[in-house]
Amino acid sequence: MIAGLIEGLPRRALILLGVLLVALIVAPLVAGDYLLTVLILILYFAYIGQAWNIMMGFAGQLSLGHALYVGLGAYTAAALYVNFGIGPWLGLMVAVPVAALAGAFIGFLAFRFRVAGVYFAILTIAVAEFARVGFDHLAWTSGSSGLFLPVRQYAHNDLWLLRGHPAMFYYVILAASVLALIGCRALLQSRVGYFWLAIREDEEAARSAGIDTFHYKMVAVVISAGMTSFAGVFYAFFYNNLFPEQVFHVLRSIEIILGPIVGGIGTLFGPILGAFLLTGLAEMLTSTLAALGVDLPGAKQVFYGICLLLVITALPDGVWPWLSKRIGLTERNK
């Protein structure tokens, strides 16, 4: 099992991954609450970036509406908890199918009726916007006035109900990110992964090589959507409040895709590196500005813009393909 996980990885990659993992595991022991929150945010984006990358980076389907799956996951689990006292892990069992179904709906519409490229991207935005407006008026989840999870001081961490100290949330999202990385690597090296790459590269040639492209694109959307919904469940229980205007907003969808774009679309480590670079540096910028007493609203957005500009012009494949070459670690397929 373990041997299968590390098979084919160069020694240097193993060492670097090991060091990174150990550093992340001990981080809460030395990090303050603020830094811990930043790390949680980074891993949160690393996780979703990984999920989005399955669709875009592997199968070549551009989704600009991944906030839909985050939102559906968040609202499903939160509503079940608030209304019926059902915990997040059981809620996840409902949230994943709900999000996967939404993904299947979009996928079916698009792939059956040959909606591709930009038009597919627009369709994903449209459905997410539709959900945003819909949830604004859905009484069961308190509509636009927001859904709140009960919060009080917790004497101890309750992993089952996801109530407690940020450190617990940190380890949950760390575990999820590690599992996402392992899962994506396994997918990429499987039959499905090869077929996805073929579809990404040239769909018509893929069909002529016998690949049922409709089927494999559906598999990509469903897996990506289901995986993303976990991030939503996590979001709901970490922030304890949900507003349709926030979670389903198209800006959330854009935020999700910045990390993988900066890190390297289609690579396994790109989404992780991208999350560290973007979220890490943006938070550093915010806190530095705050420490200097400078009030610059929108500084983060400007920073994102500059980062994107730099990456697109200097490293169009992303930072990771360039960096990995520098340190002698190239990933297959990219």
Partner: protein, 242 residues
Amino acid sequence: MSALLLVDAVSKRFRGLIAVDRLSFEVPEGGIFAVIGPNGAGKTTLFNMIAGAFAPDSGSIVFTGERIDGLPPDRICRRGIGRTFQIVRPFPALSVEDNVIVGALLHRPRVDAARAHAHEVLRRLDLYDKRAQRASSLTLPDRKRLEVARALATDPKLLLLDEVMAGLRPTETDRIVAILQELNHETGLTILLIEHVMRAVMALASHILVLHHGAAIAQGTPEQVVRDRAVIDSYLGAEAVS
């Protein structure tokens, strides 16, 4: 020899222009069958109908005893027809090996089995030493052979080759001719090819069909076809026989 592929009264028109006009022919199992003809004769249209890129307006295409006209390209490939494209379309960002593995995975669920098969095919096509290169970095002759390799990896009973020799130098043409002959002799693979390079057609084909304005103007062995008056007038030109 029985017919592996049976094309019966197939027609296709594009906005009033008849591309293929009630064309009928049989491709015998184990043979190398060439379709020649001037540009615009309907050769690629014919190929696209056999491979499932689009359906014929009328007529039927029967492969191994079953109708395949109108089926999508992936289903046709799974039935045993592999194709190459006139303008090569390898998966550019993937390695040569991965390009062929994609094909090999069609009838092999396990990646390691597919890789082993891909290596075999790559050796046959003289690409084994370049297996780690990105497909986009290959030269045109190599990319043409990669197309053949990917199609071949899907274990076809019938291989459709759309001008794989166009744009190649004579030495490269001879190399592909030798590879195709070897494949046909050793594995009994049936090959249907569109080709303009007559030296390749004459060296390879056991049977030739000449298309002109979407219709067959001649059919037969290479010797019969090159002496056919209509073929000389419309396509080959008088100097070809002299």
